[in-house]
Amino acid sequence: MLRLYVEEKMLSITTFVIVSVIKIVIALAVLLTAVAYTVWLERKLVGRIQNRWGPQRVGPFGLLQPLADGAKFIFKEDLTPPYVYKPLYIAAPILSLVLALTSISLVPIGNWVTVRGVRTPLEITDVNIGLLIILGITSLSVYGVALAGWSSNSKYSLLGSLRASAQMVSYEIALGVSLVGVLIMSGSLNLREIVDMQGGHMAGFIPRWNIFRGQIVAFFVYLAAAFAETNRVPFDLPEAETELVAGYHTEYSSMKFAMFFMAEYANMITAASIATLLFLGGWHGPLGGPWWLQAILPVFWFALKVFGFIFLYIWIRGTLPRFRYDQLMAFGWKFLFPIAVANVLVTSLIVALQK
């Protein structure tokens, strides 16, 4: 009896490891491809906004451009300026990229699936405090930027990283508080449960997404804070190229620069995924058709929502100028933070009254 139990346990651990490795490989491949094609999409869309074509020479519609970019990054001279503090100078981009890639492992992209009798969630690991861990990891990413600026031993880099540290720490608070409303409503920190709460419809046709259930203010606070967290226009002060040359990554070249670049876009995808999961109903959407379509559709809806969010990122980049440092701080602390707190109070009041 005992022997049988141990054997079964061993088997399940083996399958767990195998399934996890497969999932990690797939997730990494998908994410890195997504990062590459987000860059392509950005160049294409911003090009369209600006009356240009964007990349179109490498492959059809310039679709192979990311490959060409990657090859270029690899073959560029990897220049290390002589006066940098080498250990941190090398560690900073690695840290940035690793943290950006890690946070995606907790993002569920669909329901449980069963393949050959093995039942597994569509994410690398299902943690009951997934959201907290993601927030923790993304807030660590400020170290990559701060250390890069400091270890480069360049004034522009230093100014860029000072801005980045202040900005990311400040907006982290507004970002965190804006999510509390959703947490109060769903009563869970598990991303899967938060999404499950949002299934179904209200009044027959409105999806029960959190954004439609009174969290619209929180969504916009999150939107602004997420833009600042990922250092995107109009909050791209840390790398404001017209002021600080290239900000914290001024002294980086070749793959080290590419790592920062990839980290930025991976963070964008993470931020878009969290917005989708918390406010836009995750993978919920109209289902129908044969069984295989029903299996794929949730992932498709999730990807579509993430795409919409990223489209918004790019659209805004083509439209808005950049904030100034003091205005950025004032906006974060005097505008976003109070609104986020008010949203938490109102939400908790309503939830309490409903009970």
């Binding site: 911003v46 906004i49 600006q50 009356n51 240009r52 002589p82 006066y83 004034k155 522009y156 100014l159 000072l162 801005r163 226009v233 109009p234 791209d236 002060l237 404001a240 190229e241 017209t242 002021e243 600080l244 040359v245 980049r317 083509g318 439209t319 808005l320 100028p321 950049r322 904030f323 100034r324 440092y325 003091d326 205005q327």
Partner: protein, 391 residues
Amino acid sequence: MADILKSEQSPSSVEHIEAEKGVDQPFLDATELILNMGPQHPSTHGVLRVILKLDGEKVLNTECVIGYLHRGVEKIAEHRTYAMFNPYVDRMDYVAAVSNGLGYCEAVEKLLNVEAPPRAQWVRTILTELNRIASHQLWLGTHALDIGAITPLFYTFRDREEILKIFEKYCGARLTTHAFRIGGCLYETYDGFEQDVKKFCDFVTPKVDEYETLLTTNRIWLERTKGVGVLKAEDCIDLGVTGPVLRASGVKWDLRKAQPYAAYKNFEFDIPTGQNGDTYDRYLVRVAEMRQALRIIRQAVDSIPEGPIMGKVPKVMKPPVGEIYHSIEAPKGELGYFIVSDGSTQPYRVRVRPPSFVNLQALSKMVEGALVADVVAVIGTLDIVLGEVDR
């Protein structure tokens, strides 16, 4: 650390760093930071070098270092005949080459005591005003880019292209046009010139509105430009600042009205002015100037007189002994030429009063107490061209 520096860098750069250390010494015990911005920097519009003394992000002091693009244009003039020097003036303010040529040709004409025929005056006015729009478009695009809006740049360059096409059709060159000659214009207008210019006016009028939809009421744009780099009218006059920068401070001074030259006295147009003298007002004034320029062009195209395009000038130009100062309203401000003649075929001395150079003086006054981001905005709003600052 120091050993690494010595082994991996050339001796001259080590000396340079040590020399800079010496300069920094008095500030090292304080919280101040000396930031060297330029001459290689994305938004110093060329090779301007600004040394900033910073307290965090706040600017305590600035110092402009110029001369990285000095070519000795004024000295060259002393070894060229009057006609031979004409192409050189295009290379000063290279985004408004036509205006430069107009100022120089009119100055020499005054010295020679000849006048260009009316038809040439009209063509000159049209081309100069087209160039004013081109210059302001380039300014608007780069200024918006400095503040972080990347899209207006492409819109303005797209529309500026149409102006350059007209220049190319007229005289074969797009940027450094050398369109005018002493005594008139060398080329007769090509067939369809009037239609092309009219078509351009109709094309660009809605485009100016398009630039405005992106910026004029944009909250971030307002916050970034309102109250930034304020320059009062008295300060402008004290510093000799001219052009849109002066007018944005509320001084209604435009040489096209004050001392009309070319054919300007025949056209109706307004002088747009601002009140606050901040970056936003300068933006509004320049946009309004584009519209006024279109108004002038429309009137001029409809009334081009017939007649010769080139006046009677001697083959060998030998102006009488004397001196002349003639100034025009270039897109950036008052562009003056002071020419001394000793009666020979070459000028004894040419001195250019470039608007960019004089306006640049105001930079340190405008950025006092501002932030680093404002320095970039103010350099943009002054609309300097380093080719003209350094000559």
